[in-house]
Subunit: 124 residues, 2 copies
């Protein structure tokens, strides 16, 4: 498939897909005229990249964890494991932070609700 279809299937803009490639997150074969061509498996690749970007990872971090343009090697693998461990911890902390923010929000919602309820009582 070409870039438009990959974009449609993943929701990533054409611009973003070219950017991913520029950052080494995605590879493409090129037709003689220079157009990018992708296989079905690249859909999953893009989804993975999207998930990690949405999780607040930088493209540099992702490329260190899940390279697609470098040879696999034990050294790389070990380094990747270390980074993945750090990112995993970061994600867990982020999740906790979001949960705490949600709890705070719930508290505020309750307060606000109580305030409106009281106002309604005043009217009655």
């Amino acid at each position: 498939m070409r870039i438009g279809e990959l974009s449609a299937r993943t929701g990533a803009s054409r611009r973003s897909l070219r950017y991913y490639e520029e950052q080494g997150l995605l590879v493409s074969s090129r037709s003689p005229s220079g157009q990018r061509h992708y296989e079905d498996e690249h859909v999953q690749r893009v989804r993975l990249v999207q998930a990690f970007l949405a999780a607040g990872m930088s493209s540099g971090t992702i490329v260190e964890m899940v390279p697609c343009m470098t040879e696999p090697s034990e050294d790389r693998a070990r380094q990747a494991l270390e980074i993945m461990g750090r990112e995993r911890a970061r994600l867990s902390e982020a999740i906790d932070g979001l949960a705490a923010a949600r709890a705070a929000l719930d508290h505020l919602i309750e307060d606000n609700h109580a305030y409106l309820t009281r106002s309604a009582d005043d009217e009655a």
Copy 2:
């Protein structure tokens, strides 16, 4: 307390504290010479703002939810409730997204571990 102490207590930089005030997220009384003075309760306020910012909310959103410079009113309260509901949903989705990313990461970690284990076996 003055801005330096509030900064030390919350971890927010002086720059950020001034920015919060500029955005209507924080109030301060001023000494005759123009220096900001805060009360103990402002520490909690800053922590709330930090939690919400870290949760990906914009300062504009926060100020609509938890204003500190506008009169409370029922209309505001109702609007705030609506926004809070939206933000709560967004947070829940974000949490799910992070959890999914973490799960994907766990999968990759396992793969990587298996790869290294196999390499070690090769050596043996």
